[in-house]
């Protein structure tokens, strides 16, 4: 088994090694498709450089493995905020010159146009996405529909299986939000051993009703198959399933946990200069707008909102569907990258042992 693992890793890396195209690695599914349409294809058409998109369940460990093995085949990767910071600290990523990012159309420099925190030493935000929960409207009707994070954990009022992400991040926070901890205090609570116990105790109450998912494309599928009656998910995946496939999925914004998604360049990327050019193009005012027309993740540039963003169907106005819409931020939590940079390993280990018991 070990041998196979190492072998396949080697084979996979060899497989890509011969490729001279600019390679972008993202999360697949509706999200990968959105970035392909909004960034990869138009950049390739504009500059004449061939570019391809490859999928991963999570690009961060993949590029780290590549850099450590000295065989980097990816030029640009889309990673979570905490990973962009951690990998940068570990010397896995190329620094990105914030001053080189294109200014807003009115001349505002990028550093002022982006929302605070959206540019880091090694990463630029491609969007703000959110962990939400969604339910199947054909299963709950009338007044008896889930409205709050607490409802997700209420098996008596809303019986049926739940889908949850198989990992500690955003799940422990969600459990505390569901247990009535105010968003502003979640990380203070989670920073104590009692707080972690409390989160796991809350998860214990629904543990035997949970179907665990790993890839972002799974939750809409679980809902559609009727395997679960409600599930946590990345908000854009639910939105796209509802819009393009007409599924009766409803997003509950109470207790949403949002963060920036970052484009990064792994150290030793074969086409580093082109990768930087790609990022400048993709994170321009228009580039971010183009992505938000494909999937309901919010741009992190103020100038991208200058005109209303309309979904690719040509009629749906995106503003109310974005995690950053004021009406969706009522009981919302921003992921703390500081917390997860430190506790990711420890809490995921605890999570795994809790799962196995």
């Amino acid at each position: 088994m070990k041998k196979t693992l190492i072998l396949t890793t080697a084979l996979v890396s060899f497989g890509f090694a011969a490729n001279a195209d600019v390679t972008v690695m993202s999360w697949g599914g509706a999200y990968g498709a959105a970035q392909t349409e909004a960034h990869v294809k138009p950049w390739s058409a504009k500059t004449g450089n061939p570019a391809i998109m490859v999928d991963s369940d999570n690009p961060a460990p993949a590029i780290k493995a590549m850099v450590e093995a000295g065989n980097v085949t990816v030029d640009v990767a889309s990673v979570e905020y905490a990973d962009a910071i951690r990998l940068c600290d570990e010397g896995i990523l190329e620094p990105i010159d914030a001053a080189s990012l294109p200014p807003a159309p009115d001349g505002t420099p990028a550093t002022e146009d982006f929302l605070p925190g959206a540019i880091t030493e090694c990463g630029v935000s491609t969007d703000i996405w959110s962990n939400v929960f969604a339910y199947d409207a054909s299963k709950f009707t009338g007044d008896n529909v889930p409205k709050t994070a607490a409802d997700f954990f209420d098996l008596e009022k809303f019986p049926g299986k739940r889908g949850l992400k198989k990992g500690a991040k955003a799940v422990l926070e969600f459990a505390l939000l569901g247990d009535g901890v105010p968003a502003a205090e979640v990380y203070d609570v989670l920073n104590t051993p009692e707080g972690v116990d409390r989160a796991f105790a809350k998860l214990d109450t629904i543990k035997d009703q949970v179907v665990w998912w790993e890839a972002g494309a799974q939750p809409p599928q679980l809902l559609a198959d009727g395997e679960v009656v409600m599930t946590t998910a990345y908000n854009g995946r639910i939105f796209n399933a509802a819009m393009t496939e007409g599924k009766p999925f409803v997003i509950v914004w109470d207790g949403q946990i949002y963060e920036n998604e970052m484009y990064v360049v792994p150290k030793g990327a074969p086409n580093k200069d082109l990768a930087m050019d790609f990022i400048r193009y993709a994170t321009s005012t228009e580039g971010l707008r183009a992505q938000a027309q494909q999937i309901s993740y919010g741009p992190a540039r103020k100038s991208s909102f200058a005109e209303p963003i309309v979904f690719k169907d040509g009629k749906t106005v995106m503003a109310p569907h974005l995690p950053t819409a004021p009406e969706n931020l009522g009981n919302a939590l921003e992921t703390s990258s500081d917390f997860w940079v430190d506790h990711d390993a420890e809490l995921n280990e605890r999570f795994q042992s809790w799962l196995a018991q």
Partner: protein
Amino acid sequence: MAEAPTALLTTADGRPLKAALATAQARARRRAFLLVLPLLAFVLLTFLIPIVYMLKRSFEHDGFASSAPALVAWFKSNPDFDPMNPPEEAYAALVQDLARMQVEKTTGIAGTRINYSVPGSISLFKKGAREAASLTPPFKESLPALDKEWARPALWRGMASASHVYTAEFYKVALDLKLTDKGWERGQDNERIYLYLFAKTFLISAIITLLCLLLAFPVAHLLATLPMAKSSLLMILVLLPFWTSLLVRTTSWIALLQEQGVVNNMLVALGLLDDSGRLAMMYNMTGTIVAMTHVLLPFMILPLYSVMRVIPPSYARAARSLGATSWTTFRRVYLPQTLPGIAAGSLLVFILAVGYYITPALVGGADGQLISNLIAFHMSKSNWSLAAAIAGMLLASILLLYWLYDRLIGIDRLKFG
């Protein structure tokens, strides 16, 4: 006979026959060696070297040792320092290293290494490195003033341990030990996982092996005793799934066994189950056992078949004619002769099951996970040394089993067909 012919036999050209023979044989041996050389190189390159490299990795991590030279030197000259109260020189060395990490951008690497045994260290190191240049002596007071964690004995124990490039630390973690202020101690119940999962993996593998044996024995017997035409047809039925992609077979089981799957739908349609009482046969231990038993079944059938095929039917007939009941015939005559096949099949299935990854990952849900899933988890979390340490323990336990098997049954009795 004073002059015995000391000059022995010679070849036609006068060389001693012994030498000529030796040359010829050496040449043949060289040629034979050249023939197996590609295979040898292949095994070395794709099997032994990766395993040695993996084992090395489980002992080795220079993340901290290479980025904190001053502190490493201090630890080296003061191996018996008191972690409860490290002296000023230790703090001074630490601050010097922190300042260097900030310049060389190695804070993350060093912090990650310490974070493996002392959670929370990554941001501690980042903060410390940012401020290091502006700290003033005595550092023993100024550094803990920045963050009291810097005075924690567990942190100092962790740094002392990480100052060695070679360490058994990852094996300690894999044995469910935690680094506390007093040293390595057994973790709390809710944090212990590895030994539990090891035991569970071996138990599930044993169950799967037993199920495979029970299912395979009659099939193999039928295969071995049917007339050729029928048995080859049956053989194809055994081999067809064997040749089908593992992924396809596993996902077929998902389609069959999931809550809205074929089996549940059928039971509900037949009225045997209430629609709200559908059975949970997937994403749990049941799913893992069912799918893995199916996937591994051919590895039991084939060795059993190859042994049963050569058992002469006359033995059983003789036993019957001498008055043995059919049960006694089976137990005392037939079964003992199939033992090499049972042993080979069980060993094969058990060892494959212990290291299985993809099937439990897909159908195991929460409680059907095996130790290999945890190895994959740590690889994905980039803690390769811990993954290697767990894999090393798995390898060691398999070798132990193999050794036991050799002592008890004898490896030369193994028959894989």
